[in-house]
């Protein structure tokens, strides 16, 4: 897909992966998340928990929201909290933080696309992980939602987190840019 | 009333019918309570129907 790519980012920093469609932004994120096996090269995290791999210390927010329509909003979130494990918080405050407090017990099927996105952002809050891999985090979000997303990202950075975000719209947050070339 | 040599079959079939009918009745009654309860919760939460009537109005 691509080669000759060398980048690094540090705690408290956003790496914005930009570039035209098809330039491999998503593939890069999935490589870091361990969902794709690199043909060559290496990806590593310095510091952090030594027994855990990079994917195990990362949150991945993909195009798809990883929600089950048959389960309620709270059930969806508490499942991911229990499954991802580690340092976890309470479901209620996280839902309030993303503006879904009123929908806690509703089936996720009734949520709009933007609300589903908010619910997957709540997943980043309920389990603490140092590295966030965000693929178009603000897509489907309205203005208030984008503001909320930026606020959540700022808080994460302030607590020493790392964010790698693939995007073509400006994130609204100060970021180091990694420009992916067009084509191969 | 004597039920003859096959009393157990007769008693079983009557009690099965009673049991299933009872289950139906209980299920419908519980379902009714549950829906009413949910509608009351909505009313308490201030959510109203489009027509502006209360949720539990009939």
């Amino acid at each position: 897909m691509f080669s000759g790519l060398d980048f690094e980012t540090a705690s408290g920093e956003v790496l914005a992966v930009v570039g035209p469609n098809g330039s491999g932004k998503t593939s890069l994120l999935r490589l870091v998340a361990g969902l794709l096996v690199p043909a060559g090269g290496s990806i590593g995290l310095e510091g952090g928990e030594t027994e855990l791999t990079l994917p195990e210390q990362s949150h991945y927010l993909g195009h798809r929201d990883a929600l089950k329509p048959a389960l309620s909003v709270a059930e969806n979130l508490s499942f991911w909290r229990d499954f991802l494990g580690g340092e976890t918080g309470d479901v209620g405050p996280c839902l309030t933080a993303v503006g879904l407090g009123h929908a806690t017990y509703l089936p996720a099927a009734y949520l709009s696309a933007g609300q589903r996105r908010r619910l997957s952002i709540a997943r980043l809050l309920v389990v603490r992980r140092p590295v966030w891999l965000l693929d178009e985090p603000t897509s489907a979000l309205d203005a208030a939602g984008q503001e909320l997303c930026v606020g959540v990202m700022r808080d994460h950075l302030a607590s020493g987190g790392i964010i790698v975000a693939a995007t073509h719209a400006p994130l609204g947050i100060e970021a180091r840019e990694l420009r992916m070339g067009g084509g191969k | 009333m004597s039920l003859g040599p096959y009393a157990s079959y007769i008693v079983t079939s009557y009690s099965l019918v009673a049991a299933i009918v009872l289950i139906l009745i209980v299920w419908i009654a519980i379902d009714y309570r549950l829906q009413k309860e949910r509608l009351r919760e909505f009313e308490a939460g201030g959510v109203t129907r489009r027509s502006g009537r209360q949720a539990t109005d009939v």
Binding site: L35, P55, E56, F83, L84 | -
Partner: protein
């Protein structure tokens, strides 16, 4: 451990709620079994003889029918990515999903067996023999079927391809399941011999299934 129980509980909940497929499997089992006599004929003696085979075939088809959504549903909504990334080993997560599937879709098949045994003119002993072999054998079907379900995700083809891939793999289970039930009804073989082989097959699939499924998922995600 909480991760595993959370996954099992979630899958069972989804299977039992609106849109879930758990009970459709039983319905399919019922229908297939009821259709058989129409093809074979209403001869009760013949049905008694064929009963265990009919029940086993029905259970085999029913458990395969519901398996194809095991991983595809999670793949389509992105959950599978997160499951792969989790701290839980993927093998364990696969085993948990298969266990949940068996609890929601396999156990009802065994519960329905006595009623179907009645329809096929099996006596109490024969029915319990079939139910026992199904109890031991259906986990093997689920855990080998899981390999097919994982392949179906990576190949972007579900349904029929899964059946074609998995049915040959389940031949041994079918052979020993049916012969154990037959042995319990008519002899001349002892029930214990085929039954212990069936148990062994189940145990092997319990080990091999999760590893094969996890391997194929790991290399097949894109």
């Amino acid at each position: 451990m909480t991760a595993i129980t959370a996954l099992i509980r979630r899958d069972i909940k989804i299977a039992l709620r609106v849109g879930g497929g758990a009970l459709i499997g039983v319905l399919f089992f019922l229908t297939v079994t009821v259709l058989m006599p129409f093809a074979i004929g209403p001869d009760l003696a013949l049905l008694t003889r064929l009963g265990p085979a009919i029940l086993w075939l029905g259970a085999l088809l029913a458990s395969l029918l519901t398996l194809d959504r095991l991983f595809t549903a999670d793949h389509e909504d992105g959950s599978l990515d997160l499951i792969v990334m989790g701290q839980t080993p993927l093998e364990l997560a696969c085993a948990a999903k298969a266990l949940a599937h068996w609890l929601a879709a396999g156990v009802p098949l065994i519960v329905a067996t006595p009623m179907l045994g009645l329809l096929l003119n099996l006596d109490g002993e024969a029915t319990s023999a079939v139910a026992l072999t199904l109890l031991v054998g259906t986990p093997a079907l689920t855990f080998t079927g899981m390999i097919g379900a994982a392949l179906a995700v990576t190949l972007h083809r579900g349904g029929l391809l899964l059946a074609v891939l998995v049915l040959p793999l389940s031949i041994p289970v079918l052979i020993f399941g049916v012969s154990a039930s037959q042995a319990a009804i008519t002899g001349p073989l002892a029930f214990g011999t085929p039954f212990s082989i069936l148990c062994a097959l189940s145990l092997v699939s319990l080990v091999v299934g999760p590893f094969a499924a996890a391997a194929s998922l790991r290399h097949g995600l894109d």
